[in-house]
Amino acid sequence: MSLTQTGTVLAVDGLRKIYNEGTDQANLAIDDVSFHVDRGEFVCIVGPSGAGKTTLLRCISGLAQASAGSVMFEGRRLTSVPDELGLVFQDYSRSLYPWFTNAKNIALPLAARRVPKAERAARVDESLRSVGLAHVGKMYPWELSGGMQQRVAIARSLSYRPELLLMDEPFASVDAQTRFDLEDLILRVRRELGITVVLVTHDIDEAIYLSDRVVVLSKNPSVVKEIVPVELGNERSQVQTRSSEEFLALRNHLLSLVMPHEK
């Protein structure tokens, strides 16, 4: 729907984050990070472990405040998590509320956004169907497998139809097979809803497979090393895409950026 519109959804300029600023334990996590995300784009952020990826995501989601620089979401300066932003955390078992059923979990952000009660049930069903879990509404999250729980978490952040979906290592806690399924799921959802996605990952292959552009971060304190465009087209498949010439070339390039010492 919003694919036809153009413009910048997220603009990060000169972002800097210092923990415990002004004390002797001050820790510079992010030095200087700038990048823009256009409407409908899929952008992955990769970097070596300890690169401050999660810190960056907390700053661009509004969960944490930047020490310097600016984060603009839809042209507004970010002060808290905006209404039109969906967030998916790495650890589904910690982010889903085990005392509520899956349907109630998904209805939570709808209630908070004052969606009328009659409409909530329909939206919950719609979200569950879009992640292929139409039948689990009455079950509890802990009755599902890990991959299914993460799909419920994704359904929850899709239920209020956000402009931008931010995901923090969303597939890091599931097995390899489930991981491929979830990657294809998120590509399909993105195609169907025309949603903008920013995904943080340490997995270079995953980043290439999913994204239109990859933002490569350096080691702590983070700066942007390079923004690599990924021109693999809109149709991707786990077997063919991952074995294509372009994919392998990109993979080598990104590896050399993330692990320069191994060259």
Binding site: S80, V81, L85, R94, Y97, P98, P109, Y140, S157
Partner: protein, 275 residues
């Protein structure tokens, strides 16, 4: 993990085996109490000691005293005071614990006072309660409530402080704020520990209901026991203790039943993941 496998095995068994296992689950916790009762019955059967009358005599006397002679009104009075005092104490405990969780300034300021009151034995306050509320039911209820507050309050605070930070990040991402956050995250998240506190409060409440009836009182089970002892009616005294024990057990089981019902998600998820 082991629980998962047993449940899988059980499903494949014929239904009679399941029933047998169900009976076994009921009988396992019962064998020791039954054995002790039988031992009491057998050992006291020929007793001539005035302090330890035979169990059958106590049972007959219990029926006579509590049903025929109408001592049940004492039990009613005890239960009434206990319930009012307990509910008041638990409510204050949960609300107070929530406030202390929310308001850090209040927490640091009241911390020493709370622990001071917590370690102070509630019965020691009985004379003060009598001075303030007189000798009616009010001071009994007040004493029970005062004792019941602390376990619930401290567990509420502790339970709320122990909730995973990721769940609060999630609440911010979903834009749950204010009361919605309290009722969808904070209260249910702390619920298992609040329940543990409420259970400790119930035990304290049962102790205090008896204590409050033993001083300057003319009703209740505690009064009945003390009165019987003063009249040297030892058998009658034993009936009071028996009724008290039964009452305490019933209340505890009712509590456990309600807890399992309300915290079904908690017990079932734990059983499923072998914790």
């Amino acid at each position: 993990m082991s629980r998962l496998t047993t449940s899988a095995v059980r499903v494949s068994r014929p239904s009679s085996a399941i029933r047998l296992k169900g009976i076994g689950r009921v009988l396992t916790p019962l064998w020791l109490p039954v054995l002790l009762l039988v031992a009491w019955w057998a050992l006291s059967a020929r007793s001539t000691s005035p302090f330890f009358p035979p169990l059958p005599d106590i049972l007959v006397e219990t029926w006579n005293q509590w049903v025929v002679f109408g001592a049940w009104t004492n039990a009613v009075s005890s239960v009434q005071n206990l319930l009012i005092g307990y509910v008041a104490g638990v409510l204050i405990g949960v609300i107070g614990g929530s406030l202390l969780w929310r308001l850090r300034l209040l927490r640091t300021a009241t911390n020493p006072i709370i622990y001071f009151l917590y370690v102070l034995p509630a019965p020691a306050l009985l004379p003060a309660m009598i001075a303030i509320f007189g000798i009616g039911d009010m001071r009994k209820i007040a004493l029970i409530a005062l004792g019941a507050i602390w376990p619930t309050l401290l567990n509420t605070l502790d339970g709320m402080r122990g909730i995973d930070a990721v769940k609060f990040d999630t609440a911010r991402a979903l834009r749950l704020g204010g009361w919605r956050r309290y009722f969808s995250l904070v209260l249910p998240g702390a619920a298992p520990q609040i329940a543990a506190g409420m259970r400790a409060s119930l035990t304290v409440g049962i102790i205090l209901v008896v204590v409050s009836e033993m001083v300057a009182s003319n009703s209740g089970i505690g009064y009945f026991i003390l009165q019987a002892q003063a009249e040297f009616a030892i058998k009658k005294m034993w009936t009071g203790i028996l009724v008290l024990a039964i009452l305490g057990t019933v209340l505890n089981y009712l509590f456990m039943f309600a807890e399992r019902l309300v915290l079904r998600w908690y017990y079932r998820s734990r059983a499923l993941h072998g914790a």
